[in-house]
Subunit: 359 residues, 2 copies
């Protein structure tokens, strides 16, 4: 059954406290010093809370959805990369040559690419009928958030539905864990705007170099974000959906729906990079219990990522100084998450292995 | 051909500068912003230097060797865990119930356990003929380093050979990457002594709680280490082998040989935890070029681990607040290392994918 965003949001519940308490007790009986598996114990316990079982089911296979969309704010000169790269990278994902293509293959994860707002015509790139590509375009790129709303609330709602429906599709296809991915030249600008608006941290602190811009472009990017937040000040007061429409992105809105869709189905959602972190913030604003179902796969080198993780109290699995996005950091975290489940399920206890405990 | 430690040490050479330069150039052509894969780019380049090829061969399958030995310093009351746990955990490794058993299985790595100095009779535990267990005991546990040398230099040399020969065995069995593992109740005491002696950092700063000792036991453990370093002051001046014999451990000496054996064969050696970090320090003291072949899999929560990584300028792949040892952190790092090789080998370039570069 395809679940709309609203249906998914209504289905999100709390983590299962009984299963988590069982996990905490079980961790103490496994053949290791108490606490010595560090963050893997916390992740294992969370997986129990998500699934309601201890030990938890394995979070495999995973599936990665890369949502692609373009950004009108490119007109402001916030990045030296041309807009057509978004569509070219969609072709690269589909052909298997992008970083996330390689990483998804290695981890045995299904990878799909969802066009939710690419400006370039994908048909002209020969992508009609490409396997793994979903054509769900809501509009051909957002408006320029520096001078107008990025999209209407109705468009934002349609993108939320695309995300929630994509989660359902992947879960019905057998996925037991969802990985957030995205592509969109210029996307760190709306992400930083959303993060500043939701966390209250200033644009100067949450805006980063993205793909690697110089000092002058960074200063200009911060100014563009400050201007946008002033322009859309009333939307900021109208709640998360209005904010998302005013300064968000189509792929960011779809990610919000995707995260909520995963939480509704009680599977772990592994979040990657500053764009998905911004989407997670909006998702939590709309449906607070969503955060319990999310695992921060990687702490992006973008400063906004740390602002989000600190704001939500999340502890990233990896910190490899990556700033690529696409779902790359989250995909790399999958083996650690799988191990957290396996250790709870497969390790011997002091009793079963006949190991003496400390005096 | 089984390689003794001395033969292996003589065979270690520098990283291949040409392959590394090729890797740096190739990273710039892959379809990603320059530098956006962070630490994975550094690891990928290192793998090229190790193998002499760009792109590098995949570091799979890996093999884990868990060296087990007991420690006479237990007589000083440095840990609440009884000595027999070392042998009981050997049985647990072999039976597949320990954390490293689970993690090696998940990563498809061959796991062997090498008794290089367990005090308890493993035959009495029913382990005769156990698959995956190598009986290479040099002596039944070390002497108490607080009052006597842990072992003779001749015994240390024999343990070095066990390690180098184990590396050869695993590589001849098809391993393309070696993972250091160890087990020995009380082992963080000799490890801290070695680390203090080699780095010059004080015992107070490099000594940790190991399996989780209380404040009083920690203070006592530091005092024991300080006393040992005074007692063996002349050995500290006699070079790394004398130091290893005076305050080391049999499994630590075997790890030194194992690391050097891997470097001699030009395969990556993934180092795990504070015990293996101490062995790495000694290995580098004996054969400086070894460090280029090593990847720090995980930054142990033990303070001595950070002292070693800082001293050698190594950047750990993972930091999951683990302090278990066994090879667990290194095993968890394997997928990241594999990904670093795959990205260099499998990603499209801007030219091949038809992706426009930034202006």
């Amino acid at each position: 059954m395809t679940r709309s965003f609203d249906t998914a949001a209504a289905a999100v519940g709390p983590l299962d406290a009984t299963a988590m308490a069982d996990a905490v007790a079980r961790q103490r009986r496994l053949t290791k010093p108490a606490g010595s598996l560090g963050q893997l114990e916390a992740i294992g316990n969370q997986l129990c809370g998500i699934s309601g079982c201890c030990p938890p089911p394995l979070p495999t296979p995973a599936a990665v959805a890369v949502f692609a969309g373009d950004h009108g704010v490119l007109a402001e000169g916030v990045t030296p990369w041309p807009r057509e790269v978004t569509a070219q990278m969609v072709a690269n994902f589909v052909a298997g040559g992008a970083a996330i293509s390689v990483l998804a293959r290695q981890s045995g994860a299904n990878l799909i690419v969802v066009d939710v707002g690419v400006a370039t015509d994908l048909s002209a790139l020969g992508l009609d009928g490409a396997p793994g590509l979903r054509r769900r375009r809501v509009r051909a790129g957002t408006g320029n958030l520096a001078v107008e709303p990025a999209m209407t609330e109705e468009e934002a709602r349609r993108a939320l539905d695309v995300g929630a429906e994509t989660a359902t599709e992947l879960l019905e296809g057998g996925a037991r864990c969802l990985v957030t991915g995205e592509m969109g030249i210029g996307s760190t600008t709306p992400a930083a705007a959303l993060i500043a608006a939701c966390t209250g941290v200033s644009p100067v602190q949450v805006t980063g170099r993205g793909t690697g811009i110089d000092d002058a472009t960074l200063a200009h990017k911060v100014a563009v974000i400050q201007q946008a937040l002033l322009l859309h000040a009333s939307a900021l007061d109208d709640g998360p959906l209005a904010l998302l429409a005013a300064v968000g992105g189509l792929e960011i809105a779809a990610l919000v729906g995707f995260i909520v869709g995963g939480a509704a189905a009680r599977v772990p959602v592994v979040v990657d990079g500053v764009i998905a972190d911004a989407a997670l913030l909006v998702a939590v604003s709309l449906v607070p219990e969503v955060v319990g179902f999310c695992i921060a796969g990687h702490r992006s080198a973008e400063p906004g990522a740390t602002a989000v993780l600190d704001h939500l109290g999340l502890d990233a699995v990896l910190d490899l100084r990556m700033r690529l996005g696409e779902g790359s950091g989250a995909c790399l975290a999958l083996p650690v998450i799988e191990a957290s489940a396996r250790l709870l399920g497969e390790m011997a206890t002091f009793d079963s292995a006949g190991v003496t405990e400390k005096s």
